[in-house]
Structure formats: structure tokens, C-alpha cells
């Protein structure tokens, strides 16, 4: 198990380095770092001097090494657009995105999984068929369109909920939170639904098909033959066996949530990292793009590691790999 985790850690670092290489290539070769730092009227000599001082004439591997070590300390240089330090720009906006993604994930988990279980247990019931059809609609409705429709109905027509921004936030250390004010919580509702609905339908369909699969297995039939109650069978035995694939997909989807936050944040003018990234794409603000790329990669890697660890919690077959598996021989 420890060997497995070590191997995964090494893989994660390799992925991070690969993404780092892409980010570095963008940073170094697509844009010109010098332009961001000096005015139009700086002479060629001064530029060359600065270039030398920043080590931009060093060999590419050395520059890459420097880029990685700077990135590890959160130093990504200055934004081309605002000339602010990129690290700080991103840091300021991280809480908004994470809180939004967190709420959306909760929404997905606590609505999507029960809906999937229900439609998986009673696939023939009319309400299951209805949910199944509606879920296809959910997959077909682009998130930005959903966001617009929600704004149209709940903000423009009914005036129940705000259509943009975070509302009032509370500062705790460097973290700003929505969770402590009514207006902050209200502001979270529409964006969370917008961000989550697509994933919710995915999770619901996944849980449903996994449930259908598990309900056909021998151990469920044997559970019935032992006279176990429906509750024990459905939730104790069946649901737990659907968890491994569900965790995998949830893990991947959590990453997707953060990336899709780009769209949701744009629709709702939510001051998060995604909106910053989109602005940087429009202005070709390479340092911000590179930093965002690395941030996302880091998140994915961390989530994948957590998912791997969760497997061990859920599935005893993985826990005892190596050691006890040998006992199983005749």
C-alpha cells in the first residue's frame, strides 16, 4: 500500500512537471516577459540588460528549473494586463472559486446520488423514467445557458436572488467567505446550481447504471435469500458497491467543476480565478494563464491522490494487496 502511494506520488510529480513544462513554454516563448515589465520607451540596451539580469539568456533547462522553483513559491511574475504580481492576483480570488465549487459539489452529491439510487432501484417507475429524461436535458443544456435562464427567471422576473457578484463577504485572515452573511449565501444559490447541474446529471446517470449493475450480482441475490431487509440490501450492500466508480468520477468531476467555474463565474460576474483566467485569455496575459494552468494541475493531482486513498477506505481488496491476498490460495 505504501509502495502504491509512493508510486502515485511520483506519477503526480511527473504530471506536475509536464504541465509545468507547458506553462514554462507558454511563459517564456509565447509572450515576452520583458514587455510586461518595461514601458514602450525603454531602449534596446536597457531591455538587453534586463534580459541578462533576469537570466533569460541562460540555457532553457536552467530557466525551466528557475521557473519551477519560483512557481513552487507562488511567484509567477507580473501580469501583462495589470502589472500586478500574478501570485497575489490568483490568491485573492481562490476563496471565491473554491467556495463556489464546494457548494456545487455538495449540491451534486446530496441531490445527484439519491436521485441515482432511486432511479436505479425503481428503473421502471414513471418518476424514474421522468428523471432519466430530464437528466438527458440536463446534459444537453450548456451551463452558461442554464445560468442565463436562472438569472432571467429568479433575478430579472422574480427578483428573489441576485444575478451577479458574491454579495457581502466576511474576511477571515486572507480568506474571504460567503458563508457568514445572508446575502453571501443567497448569492451562492444560482451559481452553485448552474455549476453543478451538468455534473449532477452525470453522477445521477452513473449511480443509476452502477446500481442496476450491482442489483444483478449474486451477492445481492444471496442477501435477499438470507432474508435481509430491503434497506440493508439497497443501502448497506448495493450502494457501497457503487462507491468505487462513483468516487472516481466525482474526483474527476471536482476538477471539472473548478474548470467549468470559468463559465459560471463569467455569467454571474463572480470574482473568482476562472473569471481572471478568461480575462487573461482574452488579453493573452500569458503569466496568468501559466499560473492558472499550474494551479489547476495541482488541484487535479491532489484530488486524484485523495481519490486513491479513498479507494483503500472503501475496498478491502485493495487494502490487503500483497500481504493477505496470498492467504487466499487453497
Amino acid at each position: 500500500m505504501i509502495a502504491f502511494i509512493l508510486r502515485r506520488l511520483l506519477q503526480s510529480i511527473a504530471v506536475l512537471l509536464a504541465v509545468g513544462l507547458v506553462a514554462f513554454s507558454l511563459f517564456r516563448y509565447v509572450g515576452d516577459p520583458i514587455n510586461a515589465m518595461v514601458g514602450q520607451d525603454t531602449s534596446m540596451e536597457d531591455r538587453a540588460l534586463l534580459r541578462e539580469r533576469l537570466g533569460l539568456n541562460d540555457s532553457p533547462p536552467l530557466q525551466f528549473l528557475r521557473f519551477v522553483s519560483n512557481a513552487a513559491r507562488g511567484n509567477f511574475g507580473l501580469s501583462y494586463r495589470t502589472s500586478e504580481p500574478v501570485g497575489r492576483m490568483i490568491f485573492e480570488r481562490v476563496p471565491a472559486t473554491l467556495e463556489l465549487a464546494f457548494c456545487a459539489a455538495i449540491f451534486v452529491l446530496f441531490v445527484g446520488v439519491p436521485m441515482g439510487v432511486y432511479t436505479g432501484l425503481y428503473p421502471k417507475h414513471w418518476s424514474s423514467r421522468l428523471l432519466q429524461t430530464v437528466s438527458l436535458l440536463g446534459v444537453s443544456l450548456p451551463p452558461f445557458l442554464l445560468g442565463i435562464l436562472l438569472i432571467l427567471v429568479f433575478a430579472v422576473m422574480l427578483h428573489w436572488l441576485p444575478s451577479f457578484g458574491r454579495g457581502q463577504t466576511v474576511q477571515i485572515g486572507w480568506w474571504t467567505t460567503n458563508f457568514l452573511t445572508i446575502s453571501g449565501l443567497k448569492a451562492l444559490i444560482l451559481p452553485s446550481i448552474t455549476l453543478g447541474l451538468f455534473q449532477l446529471t452525470l453522477i445521477m446517470r452513473l449511480v443509476r447504471s452502477e446500481m442496476l449493475e450491482v442489483m444483478r450480482t449474486d451477492y445481492i441475490k444471496f442477501g435477499r435469500a438470507r432474508g435481509l431487509s430491503n434497506r440493508a440490501i439497497n443501502f448497506g450492500h448495493a450502494l457501497k458497491n457503487t462507491l468505487v466508480p462513483v468516487i472516481t468520477v466525482m474526483g474527476l468531476q471536482l476538477g471539472t467543476l473548478i474548470a467549468f467555474a470559468i463559465v459560471t463565474e463569467t455569467v454571474f460576474a463572480w470574482p473568482g480565478v476562472g473569471q481572471l483566467f478568461l480575462q487573461s485569455v482574452q488579453f493573452s496575459d500569458i503569466p496568468v494563464m501559466a499560473a492558472y494552468l499550474l494551479l489547476i494541475a495541482l488541484l487535479f493531482v491532489v484530488i486524484n491522490l485523495v481519490v486513491d486513498l479513498l479507494y483503500f477506505v472503501v475496498d478491502p481488496r485493495l487494502r490487503s494487496q500483497g500481504g493477505a491476498a496470498k492467504v487466499a490460495g487453497h
Binding site: 504530471v15 438527458l136 443544456l141 450548456p142 452558461f144 442565463i148 432571467l152 463569467t266 485569455v281
Partner: protein
């Protein structure tokens, strides 16, 4: 050629007699989806013939026609603009027809690009194995963890960094096709690679190699026909995704420019005036987009089940 001898009627019979046709006929939802798709396709591709106006020819626009509501909901409507007009006086119905055409063109083109890249890399990866395979598949793994929209945004951002803004608008459609194509190739590559690995060690391939047939020929003759089904399924499902991705990029303002608007661009333009309550500028293109993607997705779902009896 002898193979083309059978009369067209018997070919037709072959189609109508097959399991796929049977499963198609027996699913009313699928038939409805197919009809809806056909309708939208016709409406889009015949737009120059059918559309009542040419909304992106500035000469035909008049600001006095601006912001007319749809005829069926308001007495202020005008039958020349059945779905109303936007703030520039453009006919919403015509905009939708032209926009859908662009959305579909981009969707199809990017699926074809993804397919070509994916199939080629899959063949190469599976056939040569070793380091080539390892590199391609690791790249695929890493890319798969990044959502397509992010990859497409990134590619678009890089292109913007390299070329000037003005040039960008001219080649926007190619950039976006390339960006979406590049972000969807992984699934094809994996499918094709898997099939190559299975076929590669079969005796007839070994035999073909012994008698000196070129590997490329073997691949094209024997592997590609095997993957037609799965690739078709992936392509159909990807078409829906590609249309959504294009719409999303255009909505975000990094896709097609407002001089050449797709459905996504139209929704973005409508969204800018949404707060004032002129909902029709947004809602009609949005509904068209949702209907199109839903119909394509339904077809994709059905095709997957029909070609894969095991899944039923």
C-alpha cells in the same frame, strides 16, 4: 465491380431488415430526435434560401426595427420579424438560422479534426508500441484530466498571443475548430489503439506482414473497419459536446466574433441586454441550441445502445 451488383432495392431491404433499423423504429424518442435533427439541419443549411432577412448585412438593417418583441406574445410584434429583433434591428429568426449553420459547421469540422488526429495517433500508438506509445498515451492521460473547454481556451489564448487581434477575428473559425478538435482526440485514440493491440497479434496480420504487405495497408484494411462502430458512437456524442463547447467559447467571447455570430455568440449578445427584460434575444437562440444538442445526444445514446447489444 461485382460487389456493387445488388440492385438498390435489395440494399434498401438490407437496411430496413437490420437490427439497427428495428431498434430505431421501435424507439419513438429516437425517431423524434432524428426528425428534429433533420429539421434543424435543413433549417440551418438552407438558411440563405429560407431566412426572411440577411441579418449580418448592415445595409439591410434599420435601427427603427430594433427590439421588436415576438409576434405571438405582444401586440407590438411585427410579422416580418416573427421572433422579434435585437437592439440593432436584426431579425432573431434569421440570426438563429445563420447562427445554427455556423454552430453546425464548427461542430462537424472539429469532430472531423478530432477524429483524424485521434485515429492517426491511435494507429501509430498501437502499431509501434514502445516509447511512441508511452508518450502518446501519457499525453492523453494528462490531457484527459483537463476538461476540453479549458484546453480549448488555452489554445485560443496562445494563438491570440502569437497573432494580432485583427488577424484573429479573420481566422477565428479555424482557431476554434482546431482548439476543439485538439481537445477531443483522446477518446478516438484510445479506442483505435485498443483495437490495434487486439488485431496486431492475430495470425492474419502476421501472415500479411510475412508476405510483405505494408503495415499501413494492413491497418487501413483490417483495423479501421473494426472501429467504425465505436468511432461513430464517439463522434455522435462528441458532436453534441463540440457544439456545446463552441457555444460556450463564443459565449465567453473567445469564439466566433459578433460579425459572424454562432448560436453561442447570439446568446452572449442577448445576455448583454437581458437585464432590461428583452428575453427573446437570448431565449430563442438558447432554446435552439438546447434542442439541437438534446436531439444529437438522444441519437448518440440510441446509437451506442444499438451498436452495443451487450449494454442493453
Amino acid at each position: 465491380m461485382a460487389m456493387q451488383q445488388p440492385a438498390p432495392t435489395s440494399w434498401l431491404h438490407c437496411v430496413t431488415d437490420s437490427d439497427v433499423w428495428w431498434s430505431f423504429k421501435s424507439s419513438p424518442t429516437t425517431v423524434a430526435a432524428a426528425l428534429a435533427t433533420l429539421f434543424i439541419f435543413l433549417m440551418a443549411f438552407l438558411a440563405p434560401l429560407l431566412a426572411p432577412h440577411t441579418p449580418f448585412d448592415p445595409a439591410t438593417l434599420s435601427l427603427s426595427d430594433g427590439l421588436k418583441p415576438p409576434v405571438l406574445v405582444s401586440p407590438d410584434g411585427d410579422w416580418t420579424f416573427p421572433l422579434g429583433t435585437d437592439d440593432q434591428g436584426r431579425d432573431v429568426l434569421s440570426s438563429i438560422m445563420y447562427g445554427t449553420r455556423l454552430s453546425l459547421i464548427v461542430g462537424f469540422a472539429s469532430v472531423i479534426v478530432a477524429m483524424l488526429i485521434g485515429i492517426t495517433l491511435g494507429l501509430v500508438s498501437g502499431y509501434f508500441g514502445g516509447a511512441v506509445d508511452a508518450v502518446i498515451m501519457r499525453v492523453a492521460d494528462v490531457q484527459l484530466t483537463f476538461p476540453a473547454i479549458l484546453v480549448a481556451l488555452l489554445i485560443d489564448g496562445v494563438v491570440r498571443g502569437i497573432i494580432s487581434v485583427q488577424r484573429h477575428d479573420e481566422i477565428a473559425i479555424f482557431v476554434i475548430v482546431g482548439a476543439i478538435g485538439l481537445s477531443f482526440w483522446v477518446q478516438y485514440a484510445r479506442t483505435v489503439r485498443g483495437s490495434v493491440l487486439v488485431e496486431k497479434n492475430k495470425e492474419y496480420v502476421q501472415a500479411a506482414r510475412v508476405i510483405g504487405l505494408s503495415p499501413v495497408l494492413i491497418m487501413v484494411r483490417h483495423v479501421l473497419p473494426n472501429v467504425t462502430g465505436p468511432v461513430l458512437v464517439i463522434a455522435t456524442i462528441n458532436l453534441g459536446l463540440a457544439i456545446i463547447t463552441e457555444a460556450t467559447l463564443s459565449f465567453l467571447g473567445v469564439g466566433l466574433p459578433s460579425t459572424e455570430p454562432s448560436l453561442g455568440t447570439l446568446i452572449r449578445l442577448g445576455n448583454e441586454v437581458l437585464q432590461s427584460g428583452d428575453w427573446w434575444i437570448t431565449v430563442f437562440p438558447g432554446a435552439t441550441l438546447a434542442a439541437l444538442v438534446l436531439a444529437v445526444n438522444l441519437l448518440g445514446d440510441w446509437l451506442r445502445d444499438a451498436l452495443n447489444p451487450k449494454l442493453r
